[in-house]
Symmetry: C2
Subunit: 430 residues, 2 copies
């Protein structure tokens, strides 16, 4: 059996590759133990982790201050420092999150149905953990707890590799996680924080297909593209959200205005924020001036196509680049289209298959849009900012998958599991 | 719009890379059309393809003879020549297969449930095609039709790259597929056979992540490992089947003998064939002599561990290598184990996560085995040779996935689809 190593403390690691492979083997052993553990024990661990987080508030804030000071000294940009910061409130939210995950139903072990085949076989599918999940993320320390809690509840062992800027905060959080695991009698290797900030650790992790079942990167597009390119382990990706709202000729224009404004302004920085508004030529002259008023109040900069500019001459012209840009900012591009098909074609060319919405009262248009737009969420009369695991009733999410295989859209506990066939008979033969 | 190219004829392709990318773009366009087509039209095409296959029997046999002659001239081994051969019977079976797929329920468009959230959102998941599927296979020409039919029924466009030994047969089959597509008014690019035997075509295909959603390799382990290593496009893999039957101390020994013999002898060459038999020490002296008699009749060579050889001294000794070997032949390794845990540990070390069975009358042992053995199919009192899409009621299968993500075990129509979220409301805002 392999000796455990304390990954919460400062250690000097000489051989990063063998260190990482050791973590992988330990995680694999832990995953075998986790797969057969009762829900009650997992929930006990999650609640004990929440307790430890609250009880160790001071230590967490002190460790975080070390990271913040180092960040300031290294000239980290203000938004990054904000993401890095832990406050009393954020610590409380982390603990709450763990308790909420404890309260969710456990997907593991679920068998939907057992069908009976003419041969006498009873066949069903049982939901089981994926096994070992690697999480690679940037400077938000709360991801350490969120990801560990979701993976633990779904019966997976986790290897966490956070950004080096957050290393002290992450170690302090990992110490709390270890306390909770120990209290519930779960193996320490169920959640392992990579104990080195050496970048080689990431490269090694990406190739550990013998021990790691899937890697979930959380962070900017650059990180995710790099990981997807280099990984030999399957990756659940969350790329950009160039989300569209299309106001159809049969739209209720009051709804259209509300949906479009909310989709843009609810929060500019989320991946579900609308980036391009498409408007049917039939209603453009009626709805665009109303929208322009509302967006002016909200201080959203508008950029329009030629036809839009005929109706709203005061706004800037949208370029080809605008259609392909995820602003994540109070900027909106607007295009007038002649038909539903033209709207869908625009989405298929410039969209990112994340979330797109049609505003319409026409059943056929709604059905065509839902069927034909190839995005992880297709919406009718609903702002795209609703694309979120909590809103969808998943209870929590580890990200929003823009992949098509395995899981699409917000990823909750079910997305961290797989199904295996179970086959039972009384000794039938072929 | 892109011009169509006749891929069923002999062509000289100068720039393989741009040729392949053109196929990809054509497939992507065709997939958009296929995604919205009614089931009836797809079924019409499948039945018309079956008709064309039967009507063009002579042409198929003539084309196949060209391949067989070339194969013999190139010294192709006898089993490969057998796989390559089309007979009247095999042609009839291909046509039957297409008709059976036409008769299966269409998974596309299915919405399981629409839940209502407190916010007023109605949320559900709609089953949709993956998009474009690349199939890379070896010398069996019937795969051309099987794969095309399954992908077509599930609404996907297909790029088929068969082995060069079967190129004339594959072209003749592709001609029949084109006739069927045309008769149903479907785009010719819904099914495209790669028109060159240049190996570069495979390398290019493996990198076409912008237009191809998934690649499914069908063939030997070498082919599949090579493709998995090199692909930038997601791959649904079917690696080896080192399948186990474990005879528990609480087994009904009559069932145990029948299950073990059937699991080995039903067909030696299938991936679900048992390769290692594990026997509880409690029952080994009772059941092993009975098994040895039966396997002697069936001319299966036995190789045993030390404890097995104490009971069956006449058999050869199993080496470490035996436990890790997929024989696909009338050879069986046998190991006596002390406990259920020891059996499961052996399976976790040497198994290939394909299909494993426990023979037991004990409910707790059966449940522990089903829960803890991490294989795509776990069976109770059922021969492993039942691991098959037809037996599971999928109607047809494109392979057996040994992956954990997306789809595990036999892959039918559902495995060739994905789910997207649909979200409907009356203009609610956050």
């Amino acid at each position: 059996m392999i000796m455990s190593r304390d990954n919460t403390a400062e250690t000097t690691i000489e051989n990063v590759s063998s260190y990482m492979h050791e973590l992988g083997v330990q995680a694999r052993f832990a995953s075998t133990a986790l797969a057969k553990i009762d829900t009650g024990i997992k929930n006990h661990a999650l609640n004990a982790i929440a307790d430890a987080i609250l009880a160790n508030r001071e230590q967490l804030l002190a460790a975080n201050e070390q990271d913040l000071n180092a960040g300031q000294a290294n000239g980290l940009a203000a938004p990054l420092l904000d993401r890095l910061e832990l406050t009393e409130q954020r610590i409380a939210a982390m603990a709450d999150g763990a308790r909420q995950i404890a309260a969710l139903p456990d997907p593991v072990g679920e068998i939907n149905q057992l069908i009976k085949r003419p041969s006498g076989l009873q066949i069903g599918r049982m939901r089981v953990p994926l096994g070992v999940i690697g999480i690679i993320y940037e400077s938000r320390p709360n991801v350490t707890l969120d990801a560990a809690a979701l993976c633990l509840k779904s019966g997976n062992a986790t290897i966490l590799r956070g950004g080096s800027e957050a290393i002290h905060s992450n170690r302090a959080i990992a110490t709390c996680i270890q306390k909770g695991l120990a209290e519930a009698g779960l193996p320490a290797q169920a959640v392992q924080l990579v104990g080195t900030t050496d970048r080689e650790a990431v490269s090694v992790l990406l190739g550990m297909h013998a021990t790691v079942d899937v890697i979930i990167p959380r962070g900017g597009k650059g990180l995710i593209e790099r990981i997807s390119r280099d990984a030999r382990v399957p990756v659940i990706k969350h790329l950009d959200g160039i989300c569209h709202v299309y106001i159809d000729e049969f739209a209720d224009l009051d709804k259209a205005v509300n949906v479009a404004v909310n989709a843009k302004t609810y929060r500019y920085g989320i991946c579900g924020a609308m980036e391009t508004l498409l408007v049917s030529a039939e209603v453009a002259s009626k709805v665009l001036p109303r929208l322009a008023d509302r967006f002016r109040e909200e201080k959203v900069e508008l950029r329009g196509c030629d036809q839009t500019k005929k109706i709203l001459p005061q706004i800037a012209e949208a370029t080809e680049e605008d259609w392909a840009t995820e602003y994540l900012a109070p900027i909106l591009s607007i295009k007038v289209v002649d038909t539903l098909d033209a709207a869908m074609t625009h989405i298929s060319i410039y969209g990112s298959q994340h979330t797109d919405c049609i505003v319409t009262e026409n059943m056929s248009a709604a059905r065509a849009f839902m069927q034909q737009v190839d995005s992880s969420s297709v919406m009718v009369n609903t702002p795209t900012c609703f694309a979120d695991g909590y809103e969808y009733g998943l209870g929590a999410e580890i990200g929003i998958s823009t992949d098509k295989l395995h899981v699409r859209g917000p990823v909750g506990l079910e997305g961290l599991t797989t199904q295996k066939y179970i086959v039972i008979s009384e000794g039938v033969t072929r």
